[in-house]
């Protein structure tokens, strides 16, 4: 009971902080608009697209990107907590490290999901066809993807000791994961040596799954059930590693 209450209050703190950060919320609306409207329109008219509308193709990718960036940055924000001392208050509290990890993960995950839902709503506004089926499939998928991404962020944070490494992570983790996920261009047309990098990226399967349920007529990389299976296995693995990483640190 007390562990659940601990998890709850850590979750609540994370979500409260997220909702109060106005600039981030505004940014979360602006960034996908820039990608979808400017980048999307630009490429749509400069590429001879192979049978689909580029913006429609880009939309699931931008959903994935939003989840990735939010989950990663907020996950890494644990370093901030540590640097500014707040982590101490949590670490000396009589709750287990597993609960601390769980509370953080759920809190950051919820925040990333809120961002994702905002982008989903934006999509509906700019004319992406989103019916009940698409939403009913996409939202649980997004949650599944988010869990893994948040865990990566938390694990990285537990390995890092200073705020300086924050920018490094953005360059060496966020960007490659985004570019190598198939968010911006289809994987199937790439040369083999580059394809491997995509197959190693868990986000590739997330973006592929999102496209499968949102885009009509998308030729998936893998059948949906395999995508989901891979994401689930990945989630489980990072949850185990994350829990370990958190309990190890003193």
């Amino acid at each position: 009971m007390s562990e659940l209450r601990g998890i709850y209050c850590l979750w609540l703190r994370e979500v409260r902080r997220f909702l109060r950060d106005r600039s981030r919320l505004i940014g979360s609306v602006i960034t996908p608009i820039l990608w979808l409207v400017i980048f999307g329109t630009g490429l749509r008219f400069s590429l001879s697209s192979p049978g689909f509308n580029y913006q429609e193709f880009l939309f699931p990718g931008i959903l994935g990107q939003t989840l990735l960036f939010t989950a990663m940055f907020m996950g890494i924000s644990v370093i901030w907590d540590r640097q500014f001392g707040f982590m101490k208050e949590i670490l000396v509290a009589p709750i287990s490290r597993t609960s601390i990890f769980t509370g953080k993960m759920l809190g950051v995950g919820t925040s990333a999901m809120i961002q994702g839902l905002i982008v989903l709503a934006l999509g509906a506004i700019i004319g992406v066809p989103l019916g009940l089926y698409q939403l009913g499939m996409a939202i649980p998928l997004m949650a599944l993807i988010t869990v893994g991404l948040v865990c990566i962020g938390l694990i990285l944070a537990s390995l890092m000791t200073s705020l300086e490494s924050f920018g490094t992570i953005a360059t060496f983790v966020n960007m490659p994961m985004f570019f190598l996920s198939g968010a911006l261009f289809p994987v199937s047309v790439l040369p083999l040596w580059l394809k491997w990098a995509f197959y190693l990226n868990p986000l590739t399967y997330g973006v592929d799954a999102l496209r499968t349920v949102i885009m009509s007529g998308w030729q998936p990389l893998l059948p949906l059930q395999y995508d989901i299976l891979i994401i689930c296995i990945f989630d489980l693995a990072v949850i185990v590693v994350g829990t370990y990483a958190f309990s190890r640190r003193s």
Partner: protein
Amino acid sequence: MSYIIETSDLVKRFGNLTAVDRINLRVEKGEIFGLLGPNGAGKSTTISMLCTILRPTSGTATVNGFDIVRQAARVRKSIGIVFQDPSIDDKLTGRENMEMHADLYDVPRDVMRSRINEVLQLVELNDRASDMVSTYSGGMRRRLEIARSLIHYPGVLFLDEPTIGLDPQSRDHIWNYIRELKKQEDISIILTTHYMDEADRLCDRIAIIDKSRIVALDSPHNLKEQLEGETIVINSKDNDLFASKLAMAGLADKISTVDEGLNLSVKNAHTVLPRVVEVAAANGIYIESISLREPDLDDVFMHYTGRNIRQSSGKELSGMAAIMRRRIR
């Protein structure tokens, strides 16, 4: 068990640096116990071990009757801690920080609300409780942290440098709250400080720590009494010459040069003082001022370590750094 904290040969090593070297102390129920020493002496490390944040390399201790290694979870539930560095979330309101703490420590929901109001009242923050902590001053944050550490009715309260980086007025305030706390709550308080006056005015007993070890332990009064001496503070036109002449005359046990002039440690100032003036007159040294001073804890520290506590300070920055960090955020 009559002691609220009891340590036996507590040791902490980091690599080949010994941060805490066989510390033995017993804290009685209801007292304010101070760990006094320069920065880097091992005070915070000792506290961290007692709070179960750090595991001792060897030796052990009990807090509230629980073993700090084998019963860490029970120790945690029974203590309150105010860290040296700020540890509140300034993107939340004062009350939200409080509620979070109550949740973490599983304070029963039916008493939570009234208890939070009670402790906020104690530190006079109830009318600011709905404001974001980012709008609080340094002193207010400190008070909020003290209030927070009390929510779950701890038997022992640990205060690690409770007034570091605060202005004199805020320090005064905090001291008052700590005294008030001792009266109102059934609690024992253990605090670390490198401020002599803080230890002197607040603590029932203090342990002086230097270079990882306890060098003296008693009430401030007894510690000063044991020095059996007084200090004559004297300033002249030529302090160096005066010092050498006084040394030749053998009037003082010890002569040291300080900012204010010369410090003469003597057994009985009233009989020595006239002789000192004679020495000055005989050598044509012009005396600008003379005053008598009862020994303070600074002298006690000097007596046991041969150094002044301010000179032996390692990282005064930590307080400033803490303030800077608060700003940056």
